[in-house]
Amino acid sequence: MEKVLELKGITKRFPGLVANDNISFDALRGEVHALVGENGAGKSTLMKIITGLYQPDEGEMFLKGEKVKINGPRDAIAKGIGMVHQHFMLINRFNVVQNIILGYENSPGGVIDFDKAKKKVEELCELYDFKLDLNAQVGDLSVGHQQRVEILKVLYRGAEILILDEPTAVLTPQEVKELFVNLRKLKQEGKTILFISHKLDEVLEISDRITVLRRGKVIGTVKASETSKKQLAEMMVGRPVLFRLEKPIVKTGDVILEVRNLKVKGSIDRHQLNNLSLSIRAGEIYGIAGVEGNGQRELVEAIMGLLPYDGGEILIKGKSNKGLDTRAIRETGVGYIPEDRHQRGLVLPMTVWENMVLGLERKPEYSRWWKLFRDKIKSLTSKKVEEFDIRLGSIELAIRNLSGGNQQKVILARELSYEPDLIIAAQPVRGLDIGAIEFVHKKLIEARNNGKAVLLISADLEEVLSLSDRVGIMYNGEIVKEFVPGELELEEIGQYMLGAHKEVGVG
């Protein structure tokens, strides 16, 4: 088969980092070619090079055998390379046709012939078996249908090569199936698909060949029919997966957090919770595994009093948190590491020392109503900076100037400073470098060893399995399975995460 796209020796360097190191691979006509690798393996840099957002420092790119230089997304699409973004680039108030033709209206005289455009989109839908209500406002469509609009957008522009960036991250299993049907049809019609993912099951199911990246390098390209999940996982992480962190055996104590039959009604921007139950004891890390967007955020926010719930109860050290505001809940002894540092965790323009007491400013150690004890807070901050090894120029600096790892350490220092009995850690190491990740993990285990209860939510299954004493798998707003790491095979876990299995009455 014809090589539609070929990369030879692509290298891209950033200060202090080689994001792509001598990368070569090719994709054929009518092929689904998966690119897999952990976060930071260089997948997204590579995509940006292919779509022209970055220019490589070295290396060459060929389209149908011809050497090309891509000067940006518009140039890429003109040359037949279309990108389907993970975060949809859609205009909710526009209908499907308007979204698809935007920027590519093909209207001499500046007047749009919507009927003609619609007909063209209809033809595309027919050709590729896309079912879609073209008159609907995109904001009213399901996520799966919105993704179809994104795909149609690049097809409408005549793309031969489609790049799909983590396309299944936001989909339900049913929607994933439908997507795969669509992708197979596209393949049949001779399109080439670059499928970026770190979900190995899906990759194995849909791809013809798989290229594995690790730390900016191509580790190898394998045929999907000739490999296994285990082999891929080892290629990805460079060692046999599922190593264990040093964790002494700790005798667990009282139940600290108890969630019983928690119910939250779903809406556009919130996933429902369905009779969710779990309990965590002192001296225990309870990990939540599951595909992101299955209600994890809602669970955390309900515990923290940030989201009112419609049924069930949440008991913290035996007391219901109903009717308590977030401050009161924290004061019962809950530390909270929010999933999004910049949005939820820090006030970026404020100084490091001010961030160190965010939400704690009313504590008698730090203030009376008429006075903030600035000196006290500053000396506390200096102490914490040392204790947590936070690298900074001065505690008077705005915290936005710190690196992600150091920012996260400030949050950790703050949340652990008042010796909470329960720690809610949502995606605590997202976007951090290896050193910072280890530090955060160490601190969480330390807390557990000291008899704290920890609720860990992470999209990274490996992290959950290695840190947790018990794991609950969350799917569609429920804990569908609870287990102790080691009890279940990865495959089985994956099936629970995708809703293939369901056990009733856990938790």
Partner: protein
């Protein structure tokens, strides 16, 4: 009946300046830029319209007013789109600036701070066919061509927004600039054009007040109409037809308020509040849900800072 038609005719005259400005505001807001400098732009239009009419005739006055409105709008665009300064702050400054400039030039050019000499308006016209129906006489005969133009602009605005490439892209930029940008729609120029159109419309509306309505420039003659236009646009849900009905409602309220000054049944100050109170109710969702463009008021930059 004749009385009602007189009333309608008067309401229509009050509607036009608000309507035209509101239509302009649609272009600016739908592109993602809030323009509370409309008042200042109208004031600018009123002043330069009178000046232009005095020296070059009414058509010259209108053209000059439109040009000056665009110029003031250009300042707003530079400050808010290029320098990404808060759009409200810039709007407030534009209003202060426009007020000062109008007074300054009034003294420099007319020798009086607050009024101009009287100026000639455009020739009045009759609407063919309608003028022969006797009931419609008050609204079909002897009317300013700008009234006709204003009503035509409603349809033009609708057509541009809904049927043209320009309209589609302008709205896209106001809803989701990042998405538009990734599809190759250049955000900055569309926002500039949106703002400048709003300046042109506000200038035209201001000139209507001085050239057509009172035949002279009087300081403060816009009387908050720029803000009422903003209210009309919100009340009209950022749509041309909706803005027309809202403007008409407000124009009607004003026409009534002028009648009841003598009657004393309801203090006319309360009737003057109608547009503002209605807008508050709309915004509060008492009347219905307001749907502003998703990205209005948010400056755009690729780096996202």
């Amino acid at each position: 009946m004749g009385d009602i038609m007189e009333m309608l005719a008067s309401a229509l005259r009050m509607t036009i300046p608000v309507l035209i400005t509101a239509l302009g505001a649609i272009f600016s807001e739908r592109s993602g830029v809030t323009n509370i400098g409309l008042e200042g732009m109208m004031m600018t239009g009123a002043f330069w319209g009178a000046y232009g009419a005095l020296h070059y005739g009414p058509v010259g006055g209108f053209l000059l007013a439109i040009a000056m409105g665009m110029l003031v709008a250009l300042i707003h665009a530079v400050v808010t789109v290029t320098y990404r300064v808060d759009q409200i702050v810039s709007g407030v400054a534009i209003n202060i600036l426009a007020y000062g400039l109008a007074r300054f030039f009034s003294i420099a050019l007319f020798g009086m701070a607050t009024t101009s000499p009287s100026v000639e308006g455009l020739p009045k016209i009759d609407i063919p066919v309608l003028k022969n129906i006797s009931v419609l006489k008050p609204i079909a005969t002897d009317i300013s061509p700008i009234i006709i133009l204003g009503i035509l602009l409603v349809f033009v605005t609708y057509w541009v927004l809904e049927k043209t490439v320009f309209g589609l892209r302008l709205k896209a930029v106001g809803e989701n600039p990042l998405a538009a940008d990734t599809l190759g729609v250049k955000v900055i120029p569309y926002r500039y054009i949106g703002v400048i159109i709003s300046g042109a419309f506000a200038g035209l509306a201001g000139a209507y007040l001085s050239i057509e309505h009172t035949h002279m420039y009087v300081e403060g003659m816009t009387q908050g109409k720029g803000f009422i236009a903003l209210a009309a646009m919100i009340f009209g849900n950022w749509m041309p037809y909706g803005s027309f009905w809202a403007s008409f409602l407000f124009g009607f309220a004003e026409a009534i308020s002028m009648r009841v000054v003598q009657s004393k049944v309801v203090p006319y100050q309360f009737i003057k509040m109608i547009p503002y109170v209605l807008t508050l109710l709309v915004l509060a969702g008492v009347v219905r849900k307001a749907q502003p463009p998703a990205s209005v008021g948010i400056p755009y930059s690729r780096e996202g800072d």
